[in-house]
């Protein structure tokens, strides 16, 4: 009995403290209002995300959709339809897209009960992140502050971890924040090698993974079953097989996570042999050794942060700094994601900036976090670049948004809604600056 009463009391206690926090002002920024009047941003350098730069340009949008992109002169008389905002000397970018992220389902990595990403089972294609996505995550304001306006949210674990959702970084609940409810099914291709550590000799022994073939066979059986499932009359419902149908119809993307060259080649060959329409490879450095294969099969690639540390001693210090450039110059579509400590995923723009320091053109690097991820997720009809007809999910920065020292947003819009940029961090900053009389 005692135990029960505690479990009833506990939620109230938490609620109480939560309320008290709100009272002292640590409230999440309020979600934005729907766009009511047409807006025209003028005078800025427009980085369209397609590689184009428009100096002294203008971007107009109505009811959440972009209606004008071009030079200020080019708009002519229609200018009168818009409320004009002068952003001279600033830069306009399409909202950045963070791929393959735990945002919305992980809060504090080291506090297990603040996270919502564990599940049983190895094959979970029907798990949909969207239901677990928390628009109240404290990470969200910090991402927006740096220009990240969309996140593909997905857990990892098992062979098939689930189906990701593309979410906007604003909304009262997950229902308002959906950009694409079911975007990509994440397949973690089995590891072809296994490594054991021998403490007495401080050596690692690399062997063929004895369960590799079995796991691949498991996937073969699953996908074959999914193919035949469609045409069975009077079938019994199988939610897992149903979740796979979107892959064959081209409605969902298959994100194949593969590490070693063998896994990359076999994973992609597997997906193609099962007539998966849209495939993306989530890879690390070894992908470079099979770039010909990637090119031939026209597979887009999601790469780790350029900040990634080289995997072994012999690797060049700039191995990951220059990796996006080395693949993209082959004509491969490349995007970047983040992993590791979740809070630093707000540095996504700087991963692209680092790629510029190591060989890439700036506007090409911008694509790594805008148009290319949008294409990969199959949402480039709506986001990823600044073009007429697309969502007005864009932002204005006072300086170059790929450089740390100049990434400084002055305004941001998601489907035309002007969102609040300041979050708890900014509020704390103001409070303590005031306490000490800084800036007076």
């Amino acid at each position: 009995m005692m135990k029960k009463s505690i479990s009833i009391l506990l939620p109230f206690t938490i609620l109480f403290f939560h309320c008290s926090n709100e009272l002292v002002g640590q409230l999440m920024p309020k979600p934005a209002q729907t766009q009511t009047e047409p807006i025209l941003l003028v005078g800025a350098t427009v980085h369209t995300g397609t590689g184009e730069i428009i100096a002294n340009g203008a971007v107009g949008f109505k009811k959440g959709k972009i209606t004008y992109v071009g030079s200020l002169e080019g708009i002519g008389e229609q200018k009168a339809d818009y409320k004009t905002k002068d952003v001279s000397g600033q830069h306009i970018y399409p909202g950045f897209i963070l791929l393959n992220s735990l945002i919305g389902i992980e809060e504090i990595g080291g506090v297990p009960h603040s996270n919502d990403k564990l599940e049983e089972g190895d094959i979970n294609p029907s798990l949909k992140t969207v239901f677990a996505f928390d628009t109240g995550s404290e990470h969200i304001p910090t991402l927006r502050f740096n220009g990240i306006l969309h996140v593909e949210s997905i857990r990892s674990g098992g062979l098939i971890s689930g189906t990701s959702a593309v979410m906007e970084m604003d909304g009262w609940s997950w229902q308002e924040a959906i950009l694409k409810e079911e975007a990509a099914l994440h397949l973690h291709w089995p590891s072809s090698i296994s490594t054991s550590y021998d403490k007495s000799t401080n050596t690692r022994n690399i062997k063929k993974n004895s369960s590799y073939d079995e796991k691949v066979m498991q996937l073969e059986n699953l996908f074959s079953a999914a193919h035949s499932y469609k045409s069975i009359d009077g079938k019994r419902t199988n939610l897992k097989l149903e979740a796979l149908q979107g892959l064959f119809e081209g409605k969902k993307v298959l994100a194949v996570h593969a590490e070693e060259p063998k896994e990359i080649i076999e994973g992609i060959t597997f997906a193609k042999s099962h007539q998966v329409k849209n495939i993306v490879l989530v890879a690390t450095y070894p992908v470079l050794s099979v770039k010909e294969f990637i090119k031939e099969n026209k597979i887009p690639v999601v790469l780790p942060p350029t900040y990634d540390y080289p995997d072994h001693d012999g690797m060049d210090y700039d191995a990951y700094y220059s990796l996006p450039h080395l693949l993209s110059q082959e004509g491969i579509t490349v995007a970047l994601n983040h992993y590791g400590m979740l809070s630093t995923s707000r540095n996504l723009p700087f991963y692209a900036g680092m790629a510029v320091a190591f060989g890439m053109e700036k506007e090409e690097a911008l694509k790594l976090i805008t148009l290319n991820p949008a294409k990969i997720l199959g949402v480039d009809d709506r986001i990823g670049s600044i073009a007429v007809g697309k969502d007005a999910s864009i932002f204005v920065s006072r300086g170059d948004a790929l450089d740390v020292q100049t990434n400084a947003l002055s305004m941001a819009f998601i489907r035309g809604k002007e969102i609040v940029l300041d979050g708890a961090h900014q509020e704390s900053y103001k409070r303590y600056s005031a306490k000490y009389g800084h800036g007076e």
Binding site: I193, Q405, A408
Partner: protein, 1007 residues
């Protein structure tokens, strides 16, 4: 009469003695009548290697009662001695292995869980009056626990060993070794000397006690134990009994051997030896050639293994990149290790350790000679040197009169490839090793059986025979040929008929005939004979081994990718026409010249000219002071010790110069780093301050005369908040406060105790117990007296306030709060106390205690006047600290110059290095970085990173090193292919270092 069983020369009767010897000891009761037989015999006409420098041809060795009675040429064999003619045979003293675990009980290493999530074991589990630490097993006596292990003895004898000094490899103090011979008799006869050496290591072995978990903890424990032993010895009336300390004292005149596993640990052991004026004999790892200068300067004898790596399987091109250049080069160079030691006049003995390599021992010994080691040195390393080092050369090591009859008999020169070790004599008792083919049987015969006439050829093959039958038609086939006792057998099929022949050997006159009976197709009985036509002319397969391998690969510093053959040296450098971020009141100077000379910044100005300087055009580039990381864990072998107060451990003891992180940090413009202990304990170890001098030895990385520092830690880690079963005090912030207060009070009391003792006169001192020297309390005293600065891992404001309160009560100042994520909330109080803040730029929300962090922390602390640094705590982030600093511009609008100071001048101030580092000022150390653009821009990269005038990273040199790296890999891999690396389907490679951060603990990774 020829007998098939016999060897080339006959000594069979002597083998019987082995069995008699079991009962031969006089003190044992008899259950029979006496059967003592003469144990006197002589080898004659042999080549006898008396000692490594003396070889006698056609010589005689006379043995009586297990000892050498005489040796020499022209010695008459006395009457009653069995004579064994040994023409063509070589006799050597048998080998001595001074680092053996033969006949000792097996050491079972228990599984150890991650100490973060297990119930700690703070006390020793050893029962009895022994040391407080379970890893101190100095009371162990190798002789008391020795048991003859016939299987292992046979294995070792087959490799030439006759005597070993055996100990149990368990613990940091391992007790004593016994000198034993490798016979199969009773232990009473096999044990030559019960105590012949004392053993030490840095490996806690089977101890389940938590401390020490790290190599620096092992060093600290060993140091404290030696101090304790000195103190214990000086006490007339012991305040308590410690049998382990007593054993250390009792055994201190024995040779002291320390197990190091390689040059890096050897240098660490040598430092301990110097501190205690001990003459350690160092058991090496076979990689000493990688830092031969440092090894040589230890001036200590070594024991080295011949653990030459096998070639890698290089068949899978996609797996190749996983093999490190270090592993590849070590494969090529390891066989040169003995030669390089010898060339540098380093005295060494050779061991068969590790024992899993024992069956390759002779092969690897010959390989060493093939790689240039002289036969004399090789033999000395196995005989006279170990005998001398163990102080037993009066009994073993050479074949001189009066010494034990421990010798080996071979059918040729020991070092020739193909020479067989036939017999191994232990105290005059022979043990057969290899039965060579009977030469009398070898040769070409004419075989006659019913309906068959063919030529039979019998040749030696390895240790057996190869028989071939040549039919009249000229077809040759290999046939089955066997000898079993006096019977021989032949089996073959010819003309679709199956012959099974059995028989014996008979001689008539000078002719050898094989003859007997047999069957054809298993039913028709026949008789057969084979008459020898000629003897075997094939003179075996022996090949003389002389130096034929040439060292093609070069040693590089460090011994890994991006190392160089030549160490990097300072130059006079003039950087022209560049933008100089001085961090001084001059601010940023445009179009200026900077001269670096003698490791210092010599001049700053315009239009400087100087003779013989390397001129660097700095047009369009930026020159800044080198980056200093206030919080790093690179270039060390381990990070966390586990005692709640680990203040006795020193990170300087475990520096690791062979860490790729050093090079990668240089490529990010870092010149120096503060290497901190982890945050596992309220009081962590003493820090090390290094400059990133890529290629230098660990000792040379240290910043000379740097201020002493120590790590403290507050919050979840030292409190073990994540570990439900933890029993370690303290678990709360209240507990932490008491923990610190107690540590400081104890330190002050310690000082008092010594002060009282020191005041006594000599006579009074004799009647007073001397206080115990405690290296932990000494460190605490340094802290409380303000002589050792605290860098304290902290997140929350309350805990920082607590530590400042404690420090103020004890009258000292906390130097730095590192992380200090809530520093912005108490910046005014930090300023008042005088503590600096060293923080992350924007890491946040990764554990509960970090939820209030904001990226404006650095800016706010800095504006409030707190000396503020931005650190990495990561081998990854250390590579772009300039980006981290730029976040102070983005978050809160710090100026670019202020931001740069947060990673240069401010950490220099926090680390008390600002008199020589942190700004570009005449007279300061020439530690500078030349950037391709403004250092705060993400598009900028370091082109040159200079430390004390030496260019340790150069973006152009890097391109060359990348190519060189590839070329060297290709060369060695091709060499490996030519050696026919076995397709083992698996790849055994050296472990790569895990990422060290505050929370990393050794065992969490290993299991």
């Amino acid at each position: 009469m020829i007998t098939l069983k016999k060897l080339n020369f006959t000594i069979n009767c002597l083998f019987l003695l082995t069995f008699l010897a079991v009962h031969g000891q006089q003190t044992f009761p008899k259950n029979d009548i006496s059967d003592e037989r003469p144990k006197a015999f002589a080898f004659t006409h042999a080549t006898i290697v008396i000692d490594p420098a003396t070889t006698l041809e056609d010589a005689t060795l006379i043995i009586k009662g297990g000892e050498i009675e005489a040796v020499g040429t022209q010695i008459r064999v006395p009457d009653g001695y069995a004579e064994i003619r040994a023409e063509g045979h070589f006799i050597y003293p048998s080998f001595i292995d001074m680092f053996s675990n033969y006949g000792q009980p097996e050491v079972v290493i228990p599984r150890r869980g991650n100490p973060y999530v297990k119930r700690e074991q703070i006390q020793s589990d050893t029962k009895g009056g022994y040391n407080a630490n379970e890893a101190i097993k100095s009371e162990y006596n190798g002789a008391h626990n020795f048991e003859v292990d016939k299987k292992m003895a046979k294995k070792l004898r087959s490799q030439g060993f006759g005597t070993v000094a055996t100990f149990r490899p368990d613990g940091i103090a391992r007790g004593t070794a016994a000198l034993v011979v490798l016979g199969e008799g009773h232990e009473n006869n096999m044990l030559l000397q019960p105590k012949v050496a004392a053993h030490y290591s840095f490996n806690k072995g089977s101890s389940t006690q938590d401390y020490p978990v790290s190599p620096m903890g092992a060093i600290a424990l060993l140091r404290q134990t030696f101090y304790d032993a000195q103190w214990y010895a000086s006490q007339e009336w012991k305040p308590f009994t410690d049998l382990s300390l007593q054993a250390i004292i009792d055994n201190r005149n024995l040779p002291q051997i320390i197990d190091t596993e390689g040059w890096l640990t050897a240098l660490r052991a040598n430092k301990v030896a110097k501190e205690f004026k001990l003459d350690f004999i160092i058991m090496g790892g076979g990689d000493e050639y990688q830092r031969i200068e440092e090894i040589k300067s230890m001036n200590a004898p070594l024991v080295i293994p011949l653990n030459f790596p096998k070639p890698f399987d290089v068949s899978d091109p996609y797996l190749l990149p996983k093999i490190s250049l270090t592993d590849l080069k070590h494969w090529e160079l390891a066989p040169f290790n003995p030669l390089l030691l010898a060339e540098n006049n380093v005295q060494f003995a050779i061991t068969s350790h590790p024992i899993n390599q024992a069956t390759d021992f002779l092969r690897n010994l010959r390989k060493s000679v093939l790689h240039g080691l002289s036969q004399e040195k090789a033999l000395a390393a196995l005989t006279t040197i170990p005998a001398n080092l163990l102080k037993v050369s009066n009994r073993i090591g050479t074949l001189e009169k009066g010494k034990l009859a421990n010798f080996i008999v071979l059918d040729g020169n020991l070092f020739d490839d193909g020479t067989m070790l036939l017999e191994n004599y232990i105290k005059g008792e022979g043990h057969a090793v290899v039965q060579p083919p009977n030469k009398a049987v070898l040769g070409e015969y004419q075989l006659e059986a019913r309906g068959l006439s063919a030529t039979l050829k019998i040749q030696p093959k390895n240790k057996g025979y190869l028989a071939q039958l040549e039919a009249p038609k000229g077809t040759v086939q290999n046939i089955t040929f066997s000898i079993d006792g006096e019977m021989l057998g032949l089996a073959f099929e010819i003309d679709k008929k199956k012959y099974n022949l059995g028989g014996w050997v008979s001689t008539s006159g000078n002719q050898t005939v094989l003859k007997g009976n047999g069957t054809v197709d298993l039913h028709r009985n026949i008789s057969w004979k084979a008459i020898k036509k000629s003897d075997d002319t094939n003179n075996g397969t022996k090949k003389e081994v002389s130096k034929i391998a040439v060292q093609k690969g070069k040693v590089i510093y460090p011994f890994m990718a991006f190392g160089s053959e030549e160490k990097i040296r300072p130059k006079t450098i003039l950087i022209k026409n560049t933008t100089v971020w001085t961090n001084e009141k001059e601010g940023i100077l445009k179009n200026s010249d900077v001269l670096l000379e003698n490791g210092k910044i010599a001049k700053i100005g315009n239009d400087l000219t100087v003779k013989n300087a390397t001129i660097i055009d700095g047009t369009g580039k930026h020159l800044t002071p080198g980056i200093i990381d206030e919080h790093s864990h690179i270039a060390i072998s381990s990070v966390n010790e586990i005692a709640a107060n680990s203040g006795m451990v020193r990170m300087q003891d475990v520096l690791d110069s062979e860490d790729a992180s050093i090079y990668r940090a240089l490529a990010g413009g870092v010149v120096a780093a503060h290497l901190l202990h982890g945050s596992s304990d309220p009081i962590g170890g003493q820090s090390a301050l290094i400059k990133l001098k890529w290629g230098e030895s660990p000792e040379n990385l240290k910043i000379q005369n740097a201020a002493p520092f120590i790590k403290f830690a507050l919050g979840e880690n030292p409190k073990r908040s994540k570990s439900a079963p933890s029993v370690r005090f303290p678990r709360s912030l209240m507990g932490l406060e008491q923990f610190y207060s107690n540590a400081f009070s104890e330190a002050l009391d310690y000082k008092k105790d010594w002060a009282i003792y020191d005041q006594l006169d000599r006579k009074q001192k004799q009647n007073t117990a001397k206080p115990r020297k405690d290296i932990l309390k000494e460190a605490m005293l340094e802290v409380v007296e303000g002589n050792r600065h605290i860098s304290c891992h902290s997140y929350q404001q309350k805990e920082m306030l607590m530590l400042m309160d404690v420090a103020e009560r004890y009258g000292f100042t906390v130097n730095t709060f590192t992380h200090a994520l809530e520093g912005y909330r108490i910046a005014d109080k930090m300023k008042l106390h005088g503590v600096g803040g060293s923080t992350f730029s924007d890491k946040w929300n990764f554990k509960w205690e970090t939820r209030n962090a904001i990226p404006y922390n650095a800016t706010i602390m800095n504006k409030e006047g707190v000396v503020t640094a931005i650190n990495s705590d990561s081998r990854e982030t250390i590579r772009h600290l300039n980006h981290e600093a730029a976040k102070a511009i983005k978050y809160g609008g710090s100026s670019a110059e202020d931001a740069l100071k947060m990673i240069t001048l401010n950490p220099a101030k926090l680390l008390h290095l600002d008199d020589t580092m942190g700004s570009i000022k005449t007279g300061k150390s020439a530690d500078v970085v030349l950037w391709s653009a403004s250092p705060m821009s993400i598009y900028s990269k370091p082109e040159k990173t200079i430390i004390e005038g030496a260019v340790y990273f150069d973006i152009e040199t890097d391109k060359r090193l990348k190519k060189q790296n590839q070329k060297e890999r290709t060369r060695i891999i091709q060499l490996m292919r030519s050696k026919g690396s076995a397709g083992t389907k698996s790849l055994k490679i050296s472990n790569t270092k895990p990422e060290f951060h505050c929370e990393y603990i050794e065992q969490a990774q290993a299991e």
